[in-house]
Amino acid sequence: MRLSFKIAIYMVGIIASAVILLTYLTNAKFRSLQEEVERSRFLVLALDVKATAERGLALGLALEQMNNLAEILERLHEEHPEILSLQIVSDRGDSLHHVGETRAHTGLDSALDRLRLIGVRDSQPPVDISDGATFGMMLPLVNAFDQMAGVLVLRYDRAPSLAAARDVTFDQLKIAGLALLLTAVIALILTSLYLHRLSRGFARMARLLEQPDERPGQHKPADVLEGRFAKFRAQVHALEAKVAKVDAALLQADRNGHERPPPTISR
C-alpha cells in the first residue's frame, strides 16, 4: 500500500469523524426544532380551547354543561387531520367531551396527579404526555378561584413528524456521504502529489542499494546520497571478501582434516 494512501486514510478518518459528529448534532437540533414548531402550533389551538372553556367557567357553567366545547373539538378535529384526539376530562379523571380515538393511557392519570400536586397558575406550561406513538399535551382548565375544574388533552400524530425527520436525515446522509467521498478523492490525489518527491527519494535509495558491483573510482557519485550508498556498498564488498577468505581457509582446513568435502557457502 502506498505511503500516501496510508496517510490519506488517517486524514479521511479524522474528517469523517468530524462530519459524522456535525451531521448528528445538526440532525438532533433539527428534530428538536421541528417538534417545537409542531408542538407550538397545536398549543395555539389548545390554548384557544382552554380560553373558551375558562370563559364558560368564569360564567359559572360546569364543563359538562358547555355543549359548544364539543362542537369546537369536532371542528378542530376536522380541520386538523393530524389531531388524533381531543378530550375534556374532569378533575376526577372522567371524560366529559371527546373526539377521535381516546384510549386509556396510564400517563394521563399520573399527569393529572402531578398537576394536582403542583397546583395551577396562569403561566402553567402544558404537561407533556407524549408516548412512542403520539405526541400529547395536557392543559389545566381553571375556574375563577384558580381551582382546576378539569383538563384539556390533545394528542397528535407523530407519523408526519417522523417522516419529515427521516427525509431530512436521508438528505443529510447523502450530503455527508458525498462530502466524504469528494474529500477522500481530493485527499488521495493531493497527498499523493505532496509525497511524490519523498516516495521518489526512497525508491532511488532502494535502487542505489541494489546497484550492481563496480570498481572503485569507476563512477563519480552524483550527490552526497549516492556517495554514501557507494561507501555502504564498498563496505559490503569488503565484508564479503573477508567472508570468502574465511570460507576458502575453512575449506582447505576441512580437506586437510576430513575426507569428505564440507559444504560450501552459496550466495
Partner: protein, 668 residues
C-alpha cells in the same frame, strides 16, 4: 540521509491540507443541511402562521360582532404585539381593510422583509369587512440553528487538535521513525558494521527499502553463522590464523537474532495514550452534575461533600496507587501493565454508565482510578525505556501533549455528547474508546524486558520526611503546588460545571467553556516555558502565575448578574490557563533545582514524593469547594479559592525575594 526537520515540515503540510479539507467538508455539510431544514420547516411555519391567523381572526370577529368598527379596534396592536412575543416564528401581524390597506399592526419595521401568509377574512355576522395577515420571520430557521454554531466551532477546534495529534503520530510512525532507522543502518554500514536490522517491513515505499536492507544484513549474518558452525566443527584442526578474522567478522556481524537498531519507538505509545486520556476526560464537563443527580444521603456526610466525593476519592486513589504502580511497572513490563490498567478503566467507565445511585458512582470511579494509576505509570515507564536518556524531554512532551490535548477534546466533545445522548450513553462511548486504546496498544507497542530505565521508584516514608524537612520543598509544596492543584480541581473541575449548570447552561456549553483552559495551556505552555528558561528566574514565573490565577478566580463573582455569564467564565478560564502555563513548568523547574541538592537515587525519590504530596491539593480542591459552596454559593467559593491562591502567590513571592537576598545556606 533524510533531514528530520524536513520530515516534520512535511507533517505540518499534511496537517494544513487536512484542515483545509476538513473546513471545506464541514462548511459544505452545514450549509446543505441548513437548506434541507428550511425546506421542511418553512411549510410548517406557514401552517402555524395560518393557525395563529385563524385564532386571532376569531377574536377579531367576536369584537366586530360586539359592534366595534374595524377601524376602531384600538386594542389590536398591543394584542398583536403579545402574539408576536409569544411566537418567535411570527414576525408581524396586520389587520387590513378590503382593499388590502393596513389598518392596524404589531409594532416593528414595516419595511423589513417578511414572508406573508395567506390572509384570513374577518367579518361581522357573515359580512366580510377586512383581512388578517400573518408574516413568518424568513430567518427564523437560520436564527434558531445559530445556537449550534458554537458546537460547530468546538467540533472544528477538536478536529484541529485531533489532526495534529493523529498526523504527527502517523508521520512519525510511517516516515520519521523508519527514516531514522534507515539512516542509522546506513551510517553503521558505512563504518562496516552490519549488526542490526529493521524489524518492520511495511508494504510501502519505505518498507521496500527497509526490506532490501534487512535482506542484505540477514544474508551476511547467516553466512557468518554458517562459517562459525564450520569453524567449531573443525575442533582441534581449527587454523589459528583464522581466529582474528572470525573475531573481526563477529564484531561486524552478530550471531544473535536481528534486533531493532534503535530502542522501541516513543511515538508508538502516543495514540493509545491519547485515546485513554480522551476516554477518561469525556466526563469532565458533567461529572459533578451527574453526581448531584444521583445524590442519596450518606450517613455523616453533608450533601456538598457527598457530591464532591466521586472526584476527590478518584484523585486520592490515583495519588496513593501511583507509587505502587511504579514498582509494578518494573516487574511486569510497561505493555502488560498498560493493558492491565485498561481493564479497570473500561469496567469502571461501563459500570458508571449503569450507576443508579451515588454509592455505585463512587465505587466505579474508584475502580477507574486504579486503571488510571496503572495506565499512566505504564505509559511513563514505556516512554522512559523507549526514549532513553537522549530523548527523555521529547518523551515527556509526548505524554504531556497527549494529556492536555485529550483534556481539550474530551471535555468539549463529552459535553456535546452528554447534551445529545445523555450522561449514561457518554460513559458507554468512553468505554468503547478505552477498548480502542487497547487495540492500538496491542498493534503498536512492543514488549521490552525489565530494565533499569523504568519510571517506577519505590517510595518510602523516609523520602517524604526528606523533602518535608527541606525548606525549599516546604515552600514549593505549601505555597505553590498545593494551591495550584487545589484551584485546578476545585475551581475548574468541580465548581465550573456546577456554577454554569446552576445558571442554566447546557453540558455542551460547559464543555466548551472548560475547553478554553486547555487551549490556552496548549498555546502558551511551550512559549512561556521557553521564556522562563531564557529569563532564568523560575520563581518569578511561579509567583506571577499563582497571583494571576488567584485574581482570575475572582471574575465569576465580579461578573455575577452580567449577560453572557458563560463568556466571563470563559475569560476567567483563559486567564487561569495562562497563569498555569506560566507557573506549572516553572514549579517543575524549581523542583528539579531543589532535588539536585540530594543527587542520585535520592533525587528521583524526592521528585516522586513531591508528586504524591502535591496531589493533596487536587484531592482537597473539590471537597473544599463543595463545602464552601454549601454556605456561600459557587461564585463566592471560586472567589475565596482565588483569594487563597493569590495569598499563596504573594507569600511565595516574598519568601523567594528573601531567598534571593540571603541566598546563603538555604535549604540546610
Amino acid at each position: 540521509m533524510i533531514e528530520e526537520g524536513g520530515l516534520r515540515r512535511l507533517a505540518y503540510g499534511l496537517i494544513a491540507l487536512t484542515l483545509a479539507l476538513l473546513t471545506a467538508a464541514l462548511a459544505g455539510v452545514a450549509y446543505s443541511s441548513l437548506h434541507s431544514f428550511e425546506r421542511v420547516l418553512q411549510p410548517q411555519l406557514e401552517v402555524k402562521a395560518q393557525v395563529v391567523a385563524q385564532v386571532i381572526g376569531d377574536q377579531v370577529d367576536r369584537a366586530l360582532d360586539a359592534g366595534i368598527p374595524l377601524e376602531r379596534l384600538e386594542g389590536f396592536a398591543p394584542f398583536a404585539d403579545q402574539v408576536v412575543a409569544q411566537h418567535p416564528e411570527i414576525q408581524r401581524v396586520e389587520l387590513r381593510d378590503l382593499n388590502g390597506r393596513p389598518l392596524r399592526s404589531s409594532s416593528g419595521n414595516a419595511e423589513e422583509e417578511a414572508l406573508w401568509n395567506d390572509q384570513v377574512t374577518v367579518s361581522r355576522q357573515g359580512e366580510v369587512l377586512g383581512t388578517l395577515a400573518v408574516a413568518v420571520a424568513p430567518t427564523y430557521v437560520t436564527d434558531r440553528l445559530r445556537d449550534i454554531q458554537t458546537e460547530i466551532l468546538a467540533i472544528l477546534l477538536v478536529a484541529l487538535f485531533l489532526t495534529f495529534e493523529v498526523l504527527l503520530v502517523v508521520v512519525a510512525m510511517f516516515v520519521i521513525e523508519p527514516a531514522r532507522r534507515l539512516s542509522h543502518l546506513l551510517a553503521e554500514g558505512e563504518k562496516g558494521y552490519f549488526r542490526t536490522a529493521l524489524v518492520r517491513e511495511t508494504n510501502d515505499e519505505i518498507g521496500r527499502l527497509a526490506k532490501a536492507f534487512n535482506e542484505l544484513i540477514r544474508r551476511e549474518q547467516e553466512r557468518y553463522a554458517r562459517l562459525l558452525e564450520r569453524w567449531r566443527a573443525l575442533g582441534p584442526a581449527q587454523p589459528p590464523d583464522l581466529a582474528p578474522l572470525l573475531h573481526e567478522l563477529k564484531d561486524r556481524l552478530s550471531n544473535e537474532e536481528p534486533t531493532a537498531g534503535i530502542s522501541g519507538n516513543v511515538s508508538d505509545v502516543r495514540m493509545p495514550l491519547f485515546l485513554f486520556f480522551f476516554a477518561t476526560e469525556l466526563s469532565r464537563a458533567f461529572l459533578p452534575i451527574f453526581a448531584r443527580d444521583l445524590y442519596q444521603p450518606l450517613p455523616g456526610i453533608s450533601y456538598e461533600v457527598a457530591i464532591a466525593l466521586p472526584i476527590a476519592l478518584y484523585l486520592l486513589l490515583v495519588a496513593l496507587l501511583t507509587p505502587m504502580a511504579g514498582a509494578l511497572a518494573g516487574r511486569t513490563g510497561s505493555r502488560r501493565l498498560f493493558l492491565l490498567g485498561l481493564v479497570p478503566t473500561a469496567v469502571g467507565l461501563l459500570m458508571t454508565a449503569f450507576a443508579s445511585d451515588l454509592l455505585a458512582l463512587i465505587l466505579w470511579r474508584c475502580v477507574n482510578a486504579i486503571g488510571f494509576a496503572l495506565t499512566s505509570i505504564a505509559a511513563l515507564d514505556y516512554i522512559a525505556r523507549a526514549a532513553g536518556r537522549t530523548r527523555r524531554a521529547e518523551g515527556m512532551a509526548i505524554y504531556t501533549a497527549a494529556f492536555v490535548t485529550a483534556g481539550l477534546c474530551g471535555t468539549s466533545i463529552g459535553g456535546i455528547l452528554a447534551d445529545r445522548l445523555g450522561y449514561h450513553a457518554t460513559f458507554i462511548i468512553a468505554t468503547g474508546i478505552t477498548l480502542l486504546s487497547a487495540i492500538m496498544l496491542l498493534i503498536n507497542l512492543r514488549e521490552r524486558g525489565g530494565g533499569a530505565a523504568g519510571a517506577g521508584t519505590r517510595l518510602r516514608l523516609a523520602d517524604f520526611g526528606l523533602i518535608l524537612a527541606h525548606r525549599g520543598f516546604q515552600l514549593l509544596i505549601v505555597a505553590a503546588a498545593i494551591p495550584t492543584q487545589l484551584l485546578t480541581t476545585g475551581y475548574l473541575f468541580y465548581a465550573t460545571p456546577m456554577l454554569l449548570d446552576e445558571k442554566g447552561y447546557s453540558a455542551s456549553i460547559i464543555g466548551q467553556v472548560m475547553m478554553i483552559y486547555f487551549i490556552i495551556m496548549i498555546l502558551f505552555g511551550v512559549p512561556t516555558a521557553r521564556l522562563a528558561d531564557r529569563v532564568g528566574n523560575y520563581r518569578l514565573f511561579a509567583s506571577a502565575g499563582l497571583m494571576l490565577a488567584g485574581l482570575s478566580a475572582l471574575l465569576p463573582q465580579l461578573a455575577e448578574g452580567a449577560t453572557h455569564y458563560a463568556l466571563w467564565i470563559g475569560l476567567s478560564m483563559a486567564l487561569v490557563g495562562l497563569a498555569h502555563a506560566a507557573c506549572i513548568p516553572a514549579q517543575g523547574a524549581i523542583l528539579l533545582q531543589e532535588a539536585e541538592r540530594f543527587g542520585g537515587e535520592r533525587r528521583t525519590a524526592a521528585i516522586s514524593a513531591y508528586r504524591v504530596l502535591e496531589r493533596i491539593g487536587s484531592v482537597l480542591g473539590p471537597l473544599l469547594a463543595a463545602t464552601l459552596a454549601g454556605v456561600y454559593g459557587y461564585s463566592w467559593t471560586i472567589g475565596l479559592l482565588g483569594l487563597y491562591v493569590l495569598g499563596c502567590g504573594m507569600l511565595f513571592s516574598l519568601v523567594s525575594l528573601f531567598i534571593k537576598r540571603t541566598s546563603a545556606n538555604w535549604g540546610n
